[in-house]
């Protein structure tokens, strides 16, 4: 098997699974119970929260565990608008967002909110002046993905944060799902930051929203205090602990891991460039972990299935978006409908080996010839 779909999900690290299993067995109590079993669970949650906070350089009280990044994004957006609906009805975002942001925006639009999408330059970067122009006294929220999941476009959240510092009433939410564990993350100028465990070799079903202490949010799951007041439900200490572990492991040796991916990405680009009719949509400013390409004349689903039969796994658009024909992100950045219609995403990990890349390229070239030949018949 050659797995090149790490941006859809990663496989959990064995130590993370161990952490989950051990917690289930050793700390079975309900952390809300006042007896010893409950207190033990509570203390473990405290330690897990502290670890996450320290790794991200925030306070323990600023960590809200969620079921994943989609919930974190929903909590960030809905929690803000519910809290500040009287302040204004204007939200600013981009077309490079994950569906859990885009579709929440669509929902809000139907409910009377004004949603503005920022202009992007040819690299997919937010045009800073456009942000300045669009901000108004009605604006309550700016929500921007740190790293786009389809192309790997990275936004400079510090520059954006600097601009938004001048607007203390505007909440700045960043979806960091594809950034955390891959590139250095500095949360000093961000109000809210979403992340997910299963993108960093952790388990599915857990993630977090970082909420700076001076930021107010309305809970979207009511029911009293759990790990935090922002999300009710019996605290799931096994998932929290596994997330703390996954986050720690993902940040270890980060430079070496990054360099390995840079090397693989360079090799992949070099080889793919020689294929006729292939366009590389992710430019050199994108993170090396994601390489989005378009293959002229071949339906992406067909290529995906052909590779899948050879146990090579890549993706078309992102695993989360539904089956619209065009990739909104690719269209937005390349402005080419053909590229947006035929895009494939290859996503790499530090675990990827050179021989996997070699094998992928060999099979990919064969399949390209084969599928084009068939089409010609």
């Amino acid at each position: 098997m050659v797995y090149l779909d790490y941006s859809a999900t990663t496989f959990p690290n064995k130590e993370v699974i161990d952490s989950f299993n051990k917690t289930l067995l050793k700390y079975p109590g309900n952390a809300n119970s006042m007896h010893e079993l409950g207190r033990n669970a509570y203390h473990l949650i405290e330690a897990s929260t502290k670890q996450v906070a320290e790794l991200l350089n925030v306070l323990p009280s600023e960590v809200i565990f969620t079921s994943g990044a989609s919930e974190a994004n929903n909590l960030a957006i809905m929690g803000t608008i519910l809290k500040f609906k009287n302040r204004g009805k204007h939200i600013i975002t981009t077309k490079l967002e994950h569906s859990s942001v885009l579709e929440t925006m669509e929902f809000l639009k139907k409910n009377g909110y004004k949603i503005d999408y920022l202009k992007l330059d040819s690299h997919g970067h937010v045009v800073l002046n456009d942000l300045k122009n669009k901000l108004s006294s009605e604006t309550i929220l700016v929500s921007i993905a740190h790293v786009n999941s389809e192309l790997g476009v990275v936004q400079d959240i510090n520059k954006l944060g600097e601009i938004l510092k001048e607007y203390p009433k505007v909440i700045f939410h960043v979806d960091g799902t594809q950034a955390i564990g891959k590139i250095p993350v500095d949360l000093s100028l961000v109000d809210l930051y979403s992340m997910s465990s299963h993108k960093i070799y952790g388990l599915k079903g857990v993630g977090a929203l970082i909420k700076k202490k001076n930021i107010e949010l309305e809970p979207i799951i009511h029911g009293g205090k759990s790990q935090t007041i922002y999300r009710s439900g019996t605290p799931t200490q096994a998932l929290y602990a596994s997330f703390a572990k996954a986050l720690k492991l993902s940040l270890l040796n980060s430079q070496e891991k990054y360099n390995q991916v840079v090397k693989l990405n360079a090799k992949l680009r070099r080889e793919l460039k020689s294929i006729e009719g292939l366009h590389i949509n992710s430019d050199e400013f994108c993170i090396p972990h994601i390489l989005n390409i378009s293959l002229e004349g071949i339906k992406p689903e067909v290529m995906l299935n052909a590779l899948s039969l050879e146990e090579i796994y890549i993706s078309t658009k992102t695993a989360c978006s539904n089956s619209e024909v065009l990739s909104l992100s690719v269209l937005e950045v390349t402005k080419e409908e053909e590229y947006a219609r035929t895009s494939l995403r290859i996503s790499l990990s530090y675990l990827t080996t050179e021989s996997e890349i070699d094998y992928f390229i060999k099979v990919f070239k064969e399949k390209t010839n084969e599928l084009r030949f068939r089409k010609g018949e």
């Binding site: 050793k26 473990l44 330690a47 897990s48 572990k245 270890l252």
Partner: protein
Amino acid sequence: MNRVILIKYGELTTKKGNRKLFINTLYSNILKKLKGLEVNIFKDMSRMYIEYDSLNEKEILKRIGEIFGIHSYMIAYKTNSNLNDIKKTISEVIETSFDMSLNYTFKVETKRSDKSFKNNSMECNDIFGSYILKNYSNLKVDVHAYDILVHVEIRKDFSYVYINEYKGLGGYPVGVLGKGLLMLSGGIDSPVAGYLALKRGIKLDLVYFEAIPHTSLEARNKVLELAKKLLVYGFDMKLIVVPFTKLQEEIYKNVPGNYSITIMRRMMYRIMEKLTKRFKGLAIINGESVGQVASQTLTSMKVINSVTNLPVIRPVACLDKLEIIDISKKIDTYDISILPYEDCCTVFVPKHPIINPNLEHCLEMEANFNYEELITEIINNLMVIDITSKESEYEDIL
């Protein structure tokens, strides 16, 4: 950039004969203390070097600040042993450590362990000094009153540049002087006594005298919390819980009130002597402070102490209460110590405990009941708890 933590040894460097033992003990203590933080440690006779993942830098620095036997430590930037690379590294160190919009004075101090290096130390100081002057208009030389002391260490394979030195805890590496048993009551003084004993390189096991149901389980948990605080500075500690109820009750039945504390302390010392032997200790350590209470007058101490020949170390003997409190706040035990649970020294307190007890009287009173049998029973029913740190409690999970 390649950063390492450089550790300079403390007082141990003056003890020539034991140097190797000291360094090895310190090395193994540092290893234990940094367990789980993915470090590589290298040692030579004058320094230790720790390679680490920058992710853990803060935590590692914090923990090194909790290890006895370290004189000072610093983050050193490793570079190649040539003038150009060293200059580049000096720039990086200065720019990452100081606000470049402010003015500073500086001094360069070069040490050259590689004597074959083409420039001598003085020449190096000049070269690096003028490099800094040329490149940073906000930095001026002042070799007496400097804000920044730039250290350069030139070795054969590589060199180090460092500026900020952190002061270590000093003292001796815990364990070099063997083990002592600390009488840990739950009050303010005994944890401080333990801390000071650790500082002089004494490894500790802890002894808690428990008189359930006169004392509560909360009191034991309080002692466990204190033990965890001491474990920050110590290693592999056990808490020995002594079932003292029966013996204590017998004392109150058979001994007049004014002597009960004196006799109780004599019994505790007898038990301590047996435990010290059993747990391979060399001394008894406690938090007695001269004059603080009736059992801590010199006369009382003499009468109580006469049941054992073991050295009894009283690290806080000559400290004022306020001095003891200061230390207990520093080591974070104060807030636990003042929790209001009874310990076995505070239950059954007589109205007027004797301050000048007489040894003959003690012996007469003790002849009234068979305490030896009770002590044997106690020794056979000890509860021994391994103290685990907060970090290691979740070590296999987080």
